[in-house]
Symmetry: C2
């Protein structure tokens, strides 16, 4: 009998259960990592929380780093949307919405950012992964500024755009950490995402021209720290 590629087989009961267990492991791990910090969570604690045996967990993920890697992949998929290239008045509204979506994603996977140095420091694959994200987002910010400049909504020299893009990345990457250590954190997704989006928009704002800049000020007013 000819071999049927595995991908074409209809899922049987076992495969469905396997898939469900994998999903539950990822969901519980994410919650524990976010809550307690990834470095304080062991695979034993994850198995306990799920009421499964360590052997069963091991069958799905060989070690904690494999779980972290899979969650990192999901995070990357989630933030892979390109920034908006709308024109006119909607451009600023869409940028604002986009920044909210990014900060909400960071909040949902905040263990990655809270322990970033540790996580990327010990795992080469994750380090390269994170650098790819940074590099893609730097390009995205530069493209976005280019788009706004073409519409006459932004005025900045190339060197200014490069420095701006780097600062956008620094503030996005570390906003949650800064709130946590500097005492502004309310431990609430909306507040952290809102203030983060506001701080990033504040980086771009001084380069915006007339109407666009005033629009940003109106949008940001409610998030003033």
């Amino acid at each position: 009998m000819a071999k049927v590629p595995a991908g074409r087989l209809p899922l049987d009961g076992n495969a469905v259960r396997t898939q469900r267990t994998r999903e539950r492991i990822l969901a519980v791990s994410l919650a524990l990592f976010n809550d307690r910090g990834e470095s304080h969570v062991t695979t034993g604690m994850i198995a306990d929380e799920l009421a499964i045996s360590p052997g069963n967990l091991y069958y799905h993920f060989r070690n904690k780093d494999q779980i972290v890697e899979r969650l990192f992949d999901r995070f990357e998929e989630r933030i892979a949307i390109a920034p908006p290239q709308t024109s006119g008045a909607a451009a600023i509204e869409d940028l604002w919405l986009y920044l909210h979506l990014m900060f909400e994603a960071i909040w949902d996977y905040r263990f990655l950012y809270r322990n970033l140095d540790d996580i990327v420091g010990r795992n080469r694959r994750l380090r390269e992964h994170f650098r790819r994200i940074v590099s893609a987002k730097l390009g995205a910010v530069e493209a976005l500024c280019g788009g706004l400049a073409e519409q006459g909504l932004l005025s900045a020299r190339p060197a200014e755009v490069r420095a701006l893009a780097l600062n956008v990345l620094v503030v996005s990457t570390y906003w949650l950490n800064f709130r946590a250590v500097a005492g502004g954190a309310g431990d609430a997704r909306d507040a952290d995402a809102g203030t983060g989006a506001h701080q990033v928009l504040a980086l771009v704002a001084p380069y915006l021209t007339g109407e666009a800049r005033e629009h940003v000020e109106r949008l940001g007013r409610e998030y003033l720290p």
Copy 2:
């Protein structure tokens, strides 16, 4: 016989040796913390490096956090200089110099910043300490912008200055970490201090007026990443 306050006594040979040992412990701890990360250094390793007994170390500092606290005090003393309030063309040069001094101090005590979340997370005294620093520096940036505005060198609304000050703090606090995880770090004090000062100046630059803004561009050109 009347008691003589201890502070007035001339130092005898023992007191001098005690003081020298304390200094050597602090210097070696700082070097080890910076080199390996504070969380990977034990008091045993510090004693080993100094070729003294753990008991002798313990006589000077009860635990590692006491060493960290003393180093934090020194760092705070080092960065306690107020930003310059010079006028005219010198204002931008002095600001540039000031930012270099701050980033060089951060580099020399970089273990604090590399492990900031851990260190301030586990020690309430250090957390309050760090929040005092942030709060003082936020005030300093706002005062600096006020001074530049009075001279007509800067134009920004109060809400813009508040958001700017916060972004200055985020970029200053996390620049070294960002370089380390995003792959720009050369592990060289001058490069990190120079690019850090450039990125912070880039935050202020768009609010500067005519001549001052051009001055910043000339200064920053050599530090473009």
